[in-house]
């Protein structure tokens, strides 16, 4: 198929259809509303369900109900809307249901603003709802990658029977880029939904889909079943990418999403000035690529790690955890919808380098 120019939100919507999404529940919020707008036209064409609920609370619980049938269902929203959905996400994790939740993030906290941010990292990665559960979290940096990861989200949700999130800053949803959809979608085999889905108990025993376990042994057992899945995710679902990582690097930048692209521009410009910097980009935020970061950060010539975010040192906690104190981890970030410029990134790199030089001289 030839490339087309699409807004990230439209591309995500189309990708969901290509991945076989059968039900979409939504409530409009900037900067992701185009997903709903697009699907309001396209969902009826493919015979799927498009439903705009009365609030994000309603939407998330519709998703909970629909996911119980084993169908491929999803919702999209932006930060404040995702906050409202947390209770149902926890319930879905507890009841082992496959659902895809996409968050096109805007600045917060509270109602915040409508410009791009990455400040929902903790909420997504550390589990915004209550209880011992995890959501698998993926973060694209281009519109094409948003397409690919959206399709992957549906597969992973079914594979693990667990909510899967994709988070992108507002830019991912709003920018236009050339994208290509696969001619045909071949998905690796999945376990059947026959064993558990609520599909009507006419000729079989009724099934109960629940997250309530009053007996503590039963509840702990459920938690351990979930935990086993999370351990499998850690083994099988780590995704990451590196850019210009080499033996010459003195500094390793860690950034995700579109922030990583800004860092790439800065790295190219620094390279032209004779400063060698590498970039590590986590694509899966849970599971976090801990071993991979540790390996790159502890290369012989790397003196420091610099985490750059459109939030206030949220991912940095995971970077520090991964590096286990073996290299100093510095932070730079902007918030509230302000996107760091390549110039600011360059400045920070040079600042960190000069700190190293100064301390070396003192010694």
């Amino acid at each position: 198929m030839a490339k087309v120019l699409m807004k990230g939100n439209e591309a995500i919507a189309e990708a969901a259809l290509r991945a076989g999404a059968e039900g979409y529940f939504c409530y409009p919020i900037t900067p992701q509303t185009e997903v709903a707008e697009y699907l309001s036209k396209r969902m009826p064409e493919v015979g799927g369900m498009f439903l705009q609920g009365e609030s994000e609370l309603a939407v998330a619980n519709m998703l909970f109900g629909a996911a119980s049938t084993g169908k491929r269902v999803f919702t999209t929203s932006s930060s404040p809307g995702i906050s409202l959905m947390q209770e149902a996400i926890s319930y879905m994790a507890g009841a082992e249901l496959p659902a895809v939740i996409i968050n096109i993030m805007r600045g917060g906290p509270g109602l915040g603003g409508i410009l791009p941010a990455q400040a929902d990292y903790f909420q997504a990665v550390k589990g915004g709802g209550h209880g011992d559960y995890r959501t698998l979290v993926l973060a694209p940096s281009t519109v094409q990658e948003a397409v690919d990861l959206t399709m992957l989200c549906f597969h992973l949700a079914q594979k693990y029977r667990n909510p899967v999130m994709m988070i992108g800053d507002g830019m991912i949803g709003q920018m236009m880029e050339a994208v290509e959809f696969p001619e045909s979608y071949e998905e690796p085999p999945l376990p059947s939904t026959d064993e558990w889905a609520a599909t009507g108990a006419l000729d079989r025993k009724a099934r109960i889909i629940k997250s309530l376990f009053l007996d503590p042994v039963g509840l702990e057992n459920n938690v351990l079943i979930l935990e086993k899945k999370y351990q499998q995710m850690i083994r099988e679902e780590v995704r990451c990418e590196s850019y210009k990582i080499s033996a010459e690097n003195k500094i390793l930048i860690v950034a995700y999403g579109t922030m990583a692209r800004i860092c790439q521009t800065a790295i190219d410009e620094l390279e032209a000035d004779g400063v060698s910097v590498g970039l590590f980009r986590p694509i899966s935020l849970y599971p976090f690529p801990e071993k991979e970061i540790l390996r790159e950060a502890t290369r012989k010539n790397i003196k420091s790690v610099l985490t750059i975010e459109m939030s206030m040192a949220q991912m940095m906690e995971d970077v520090e955890r991964a590096i286990q104190g073996r290299r100093p981890v510095h932070f730079f970030g902007r918030s509230g919808g302000i996107v760091p410029t390549p110039e600011e990134v360059k400045e920070q790199v040079l600042k960190v380098l000069s700190i190293k030089r100064r301390t070396a001289k003192k010694k």
Binding site: K3, P31, L115, Q174, A178, I262
Partner: protein, 241 residues
């Protein structure tokens, strides 16, 4: 430095109001800001641009306000916190500028019929025959990829805006992946739309480096060279200097 830049025939207008409309992602805002610059370069004394995009939260012509103001172009945009809002704010100055008709006024309108609806609230202010309403067409967008889609777009926008188109701008592109062939295929689509709709192709627009290709030497419509002013944060404008 000797300039070797090819001189194509540039678009000129006898009307004092230029309404730039089109589908999402057709490149309306980029065409509108570049057109405003072109009008100043061509010697128009007073050029104003109003951002009437009430449907997009990012990448709007107001993002280029500073550059345009420095060229002496008057920009009519919401200010303060409302600069960032995606609310249906139409400044009273817009109506004033339409009615006063001093110099040339460029109206950059939001995408699709939804974005063009804003014009219906102003349609009473437009004097018949005093404006050009141009459809910016990008054949690489899903809903305007063929003749039927384009004709539907014309229909939808005309009914929501309560105004009639007067011409077509062929602006088919794939951003940085655009080739000369992509732009020329788009021109062919624009010509088909032109034949069916009886609207003339007002001009072709394309990135400078594309339209300088030899393939454009014999193009028989005016050509507006574009310089990208609405950049993504990682796109460096250093190359333009």
């Amino acid at each position: 430095m000797i300039s070797l830049v090819k001189q194509h025939r540039l678009p000129t207008f006898s009307k004092s109001i230029l309404i730039i409309v089109g589908g999402y992602g057709s490149g309306k805002s980029e065409v509108a800001v570049n057109l405003s610059r072109q009008l100043v370069n061509a010697g128009s004394a007073q050029v104003a641009i109003a951002d009437l995009d009430i449907v997009n939260p990012y990448f709007r012509s107001r993002e280029a306000s500073e550059q345009l103001t420095s060229l002496g172009i008057r920009t009519i945009n919401p200010t303060g916190g409302q600069h960032y809002a995606d609310l249906p704010i139409i400044l009273p100055e817009v109506k004033g500028a339409i009615e006063q008709r001093q110099g040339v006024l460029v109206l950059d309108v939001g995408g699709d019929d939804v974005g063009a609806r804003v014009l219906s609230s102003l349609s009473g202010s437009f004097e018949e025959g005093a404006y050009e309403m141009l459809l910016v067409l990008n054949g690489n967008r899903p809903f305007t990829a063929d003749l039927d889609g384009c004709l539907k777009m014309i229909n939808d926008i005309e009914s929501s805006s309560r105004l009639k188109f007067t011409g077509i701008v062929s602006n088919t592109h794939l951003l940085e992946e655009t080739t000369a062939q992509i732009a020329l295929d788009g021109l062919e689509l624009a010509r088909q739309v032109s034949r069916r709709s009886d609207l003339p192709v007002a001009f072709l627009s394309g990135l400078k480096e594309i339209i300088e290709c030899d393939e454009f030497d014999n193009v028989d419509v005016p050509i507006l060279p574009l310089e990208r002013l609405l950049l993504k944060p990682w796109e460096s404008s250093a190359g333009d200097e």
